[in-house]
Every structure is written in structure tokens, then in C-alpha cells.
């Protein structure tokens, strides 16, 4: 599944210092003085054809990041550079008039196949809508394209699905329609936000395989957002672990799983149940529960829960990313000591 991008090619997405602050309302006439730092200065790149997993617990900012990358939310600060052939620009600065063109290049697959589709529109309407919005082709041409995509996502024979409504489809079939809709404009980059978490195990595997296969075949790069590390292992070339708005560790998937460096990554991995009764896990003890990133203090975000927090952690701001291996970075002052 790994697609090695040619070295000279630019990354398709470059994220630099990306931030999103949500103000906490104090009433109609008072300016907010507290902010949730949902995403607080993160950097990453995604190579052409690569799949980057964004993992973390609820509230860590992974979905907010995904939404900024498809311009459903505007960043508070930072840069999102999209390099798609001759289309090279910071999408944070795309004006309203440019959104249509942008949307033909970047698409999203949502978590809930029951909520993400208009119940009154047929499969054909749903999948062909991007074509209609972008004024691509005539209606018979669009129908042909939709049939082609239905075949591609494994809804066969395609003719039988063309004029069905969402309620006539199972969850797995709906998610296939959502994938077809995301791919209809031939985007180079797709953000997938927990696309399989609502699906049953047996159906989940076929959707995961479908996304991997289409990604390889069509040269799509994914940002794959998930809370499930086992799923990320199968879907992603690299993984970025988020905690309270910060990326605390990023690196090649198998390396992160085999050799996690950040204490939070270790805790997260040690808490994942193993589908084998012979394996006995030894959990890393971390203190307390996840908090909210409301006006967070300058120290390391994980300091309150970290079993290894030391003087250096309390006296310094949130650590930068340190290189700990090939393509492998972690944000912790105590790497190597723990």
C-alpha cells in the first residue's frame, strides 16, 4: 500500500503553524477573553499518494484540523499550502470566488453515512452534485461518470443503485456512495474523518480496502482521521498523534507502534485492547483524564498527566519537535531518559 513518492515532487499539502482558537462566549456585549485552543500551532506535510493518519482522543483537535484542510473552518493563524500540479496556493487565503475551484481538488469523507447524505436525493443526485456545481459535462456524460464510479466503489451492477435513496442502502453501501461522491471530481487530496467508525467490523474491512486500493490506483493522498490505532495501522503510511491541539509525535506507522517515544503515545498504545486472549498488556499509568485546552499554560500540554514530568518540563514552554529517528519526531524534553 505504500506509494513512494518521487523525491523531487513537492508535498501535496504543507501545514505550517496552523492554529484554530474558538472563543468562549461571555454574553452578547462582552468580548470573549477565553479561547479553546483546539489546534495550537501544528506542522506536517503529506506527500503525493501518501496517507497520513491523525490519531488522538476526542477533543484533541483532529477533526478541527481536518475541517480546516477542506476549508469548512478558517484557521486563526498559520498556513495550509496545497500543491496540486499548477494549483499552488495557501488555501487559508483562497477568496470566496476561488472556493469552487478549490473544492474540485480537495474532498472530504464524513464519519456518519446516515447523516452525511440528503435523504431526499437519489444516489445519482448525490454523486453527480459536484459535477453539476462545477458545470462539468452534460447530463448523459454525468450519468456515465456516476456509473463508472459506482462500479469503482463496488456497488454493482451500478444501474441498480443509480436511482436508489439513502434509506434503501445499508451503512456500508452508503459509505461507498460517500466515497464515490468524494472521488467524482478526481481530487488529489481527500480528508477522511473516521470513515469506518460507524460500521460493523466485517464491513469496515471492505471499506478500508476500498479506500486503500482507490488511493493507490487514482493517486489520492489521504488525511485519515481516526481514534482507532489498529485501523490507522492498516490505512496509514505515517501517523501523527495529537494531544490537546498539539502534535506530540509523528513518524512512520510501524515505527510509532513498535517504538513510541512520547509518553502520551506510549500510554495511548498501551491502552489499546488486543484481540488475542494470550496477550497480557501492561498499561502505562497516566494520571487523570483529558482536560480542555482553554487558555492553556505555556508548559508542555501533557505535563499534568505525564508520569515522567520533571523540572525541565515545568521550566520550559511546550517542547518543539525533536528528531528521534528517520522521519520520526516527538515533542518531549525527556526523550532518551524515559
Amino acid at each position: 500500500m505504500t506509494v513512494e513518492a518521487p523525491v523531487q515532487t513537492k508535498p501535496i499539502v504543507e501545514v505550517v503553524g496552523l492554529k484554530k482558537l474558538f472563543p468562549i462566549s461571555r454574553g452578547l456585549f462582552r468580548a470573549p477573553n477565553e479561547f479553546v485552543h483546539a489546534v495550537d500551532g501544528i506542522d506536517f506535510e503529506i506527500a503525493p499518494g501518501e496517507s497520513l493518519g491523525l490519531v488522538g482522543e476526542s477533543g484533541c483537535g483532529k477533526s478541527t484540523t481536518g475541517r480546516m484542510l477542506v476549508k469548512l473552518l478558517d484557521p486563526s493563524d498559520g498556513k495550509i499550502q496545497l500543491n496540486d500540479g499548477d494549483y499552488e496556493r495557501d488555501i487559508a487565503n483562497v477568496p470566496r470566488s476561488g472556493i469552487k475551484e478549490f473544492r474540485s481538488r480537495v474532498q472530504m469523507i464524513f464519519q456518519d453515512p446516515y447523516e452525511s447524505m440528503n435523504p431526499r436525493r437519489t444516489v445519482f443526485d448525490t454523486i453527480s452534485e459536484p459535477l453539476a456545481v462545477q458545470k462539468v459535462g452534460t447530463i448523459p456524460e454525468r450519468e456515465e461518470r456516476v456509473l463508472e464510479l459506482l462500479g469503482l466503489v463496488g456497488l454493482t451492477p451500478p444501474q441498480n443503485f443509480l436511482f436508489r435513496y439513502p434509506h434503501e442502502l445499508s451503512g456500508g453501501q452508503r459509505q461507498r456512495v460517500a466515497i464515490a461522491r468524494a472521488l467524482v471530481m478526481n481530487p488529489r487530496f481527500v480528508v477522511a474523518d473516521e470513515p469506518t467508525s460507524m460500521l460493523d467490523v466485517s464491513i469496515r474491512i471492505s471499506i478500508m480496502e476500498l479506500m486503500t486500493e482507490l488511493g493507490d490506483r487514482l493517486g489520492v493522498s489521504y488525511l485519515y482521521i481516526t481514534h482507532d490505532l489498529a485501523v490507522a495501522r492498516y490505512m496509514c503510511d505515517r501517523i501523527a498523534v495529537m494531544y490537546l491541539g498539539k502534535i506530540v509525535e509523528i513518524g512512520p506507522t510501524e515505527q510509532i507502534l513498535a517504538n513510541p517515544q512520547h509518553p502520551y503515545t506510549r500510554a495511548l498504545l498501551s491502552a489499546v485492547p488486543i484481540p488475542d486472549p494470550k496477550v497480557k498488556r501492561t498499561p502505562v499509568e497516566i494520571k487523570g483524564g483529558i482536560s480542555k485546552a482553554i487558555n492553556p499554560p505555556p508548559e508542555c500540554r501533557f505535563i499534568q498527566r505525564c508520569p515522567f514530568a520533571a523540572q525541565v518540563c515545568w521550566e520550559n514552554p511546550h517542547p518543539e519537535m525533536f528528531q528521534v529517528g528517520e522521519q520520526h519526531h516527538a515533542a518531549c524534553y525527556r526523550i532518551g531518559e524515559i
Binding site: 467490523v201 474491512i205 481514534h227 495501522r233 495511548l268 489499546v272 485492547p273 488486543i274 484481540p275 488475542d276
Partner: protein, 346 residues
Amino acid sequence: MTLSLEDLQARRVDRNQPLLEVDDLVMHYRIKAGEVSAVDNLSFTIHQGEAVGLVGESGCGKTSAALSLLRLLPANAEYLSGQVRLNGEDLLQLSEEAMRKRRWKEIAMVFQGAMNSWNPVYRVGDQIREVLDTHFRGQMDIEEQTAHIERLFAAVGLPREMVDRFPHEFSGGMRQRAVIAMALACSPGLIIADEPTTALDVIVQDQILRELKRIQTEMGMSILYISHDIAVIAEVTDSLGVMYAGKLVEYGPTAEVFARPRHPYAYLLLRSTPSITGPRRQLAPLAGEPPDLLNPPSGCRFHPRCPFATEQCSVEEPPLAEISGGHRVACWNYEDVPELEAELVR
């Protein structure tokens, strides 16, 4: 007053003694379009101190099975046959009043989605008090109740001051802990935990499961886990049953079923569960969709999706037959299902 957690720890457990015996339970839902065969010929036994799991995908009847044990089914449900014996007494024959006295006290339930298990306008402590009022009327005064609730909170790792808080002041994990505290209130012999950690983050899930395991061991309780999450079931149960389309297709000691799953569905389910450890093996997708239980398939209910199906499978229903010590499988061709382990180390 005799009730305290210290007493509970003294509960004597005979692991060979059956606590709950489900025998040939058949349950239908009547809907406009006909009858939905939700639970069919369900038989299994939970022993004292044992943790049993029921796994399966949505709509396989695992929650219906759990609710039918407690007689908490909606009005359109109908028991067609079978027995649910708790300590030898058939719960299905009891009057509603007698059944009510057994809920919480002998069997308690931890529901799916702790968010919705609490009434938002009452303090959590007072909602647990209500259970104590019902089952120990006149036996505990207010101070004793409060002391008992505080002990329960301590047992599930909640700070004492949370007793007087409202549900919205609890985080998701704390609410689930409080639900478990309530389930423990009358020290039941059996707790049914329906997806107890499904909405929780993995670190909190791990803490809650460990808490449950510890309480189960210390108090000598039995737990019936209902879950779609095979990894969770692998870790917390002694025995496990795999359900498909309302039927138990495989049942046995957890280690045995994981090492040698013999029903094709159980086999494929285990093969399609990704793991973060071990070799990164090929996952097996399962073709097709679960059947419509208004018209379940003839013969074996899994035969339309089964890669090992023969002609016999579409005609004759396989019995849940014992193949080795306590390991039962409902499949005509179970010997043809490959060894999972041999496949794994490819």
C-alpha cells in the same frame, strides 16, 4: 444492616456452580411487517464468578438477548419458549412484582451509553439512593445510605464529593463509573454490561475495564459482557459466545475460541479484526450483508455469506454441538474451517 462491600468480598464462589442458565430461549418482535426472529434457540450458562461475553455485529440480537434475561423488552416482544434460570429459578415464570425485586439485587445492568442512563435533574447520589430505597426499605437510614454510596464511589474510583453532583458535572468516563457504582449498589451476583465502554476514549476504556475486572474478582461476581468489540471481549472474558442473526453460532472458553474458531463466521470475524501488535496480517472482508430477520435464511442463517457452505447448509439447520471440552459450534462443516493460527503466521 448487613450490607457492605467488605461482606461482599466474602462471597464464596464455586466456579463450577451455574448461576444463570439460559435454555433454548426464543424471542420474537412483532412488527407491522411480520415477526422478527431476534433471539433463536439461545442456550448458555454463566457460572459463579465467571465473565462471559456475547459478541456480534449490530442487529445480531446480543442486546435483545441481554434485555430478555432481565425481562426489560419492549411491549411488542414475545417469548416463544425457553427458560432463564437464576440459581435454579425460572425468571420468565415470575410475576412482574417478583421480577422487580430481583433486578438490581440479583441481576443489575450497565447500559450502553452512560450519557443517557441518568436523569439530568437529580443528583447522582440521590438516584442511587432510589435503588437502595426500593430494595432495602426501612433497613437503612439516610446516613447509612450515604456511607454506602460513598463506599460504592470509592470502589469504582470516584471522589466522594461527586455523590452530591448532577450528571452534567461528570465526564463521560466518570458517568460510566457512576453507572457501575449503581449496578453494585445491592451487590448483585450478576452484572450485565451492554457495551460498557463503547462511547469512551481508549485510555478511559482501559481504566473502566480494569475497574470492572478488579471488582468482579474481589466481589466474586459474574459479568455478562455484550459487545461488538472483539478485542475488548478477548481481554475481559473467560468464556465467549459469537452471535449471528439471532443465533449463537459458537460458544466456548475464550482462549480456545480465539485459538481455534470453528464457525466460519467467528473465524472471519476474528480474521477481520485489526490489531496493533503481531504481524500486520491480511484482513479478511466478509462478503454480503447480514440477513433480514423478518425472513431469516433457511437452514443455517449464515449460509448465503459462508465461503464453506454446502447444499446441506441451505436446507438443514446445524445444531450447536460440542466439539471439545465446553467448545460448541453450530456448523455442519466446522472441520473444513482452516486453523486460524496457521493462517496468522504466514
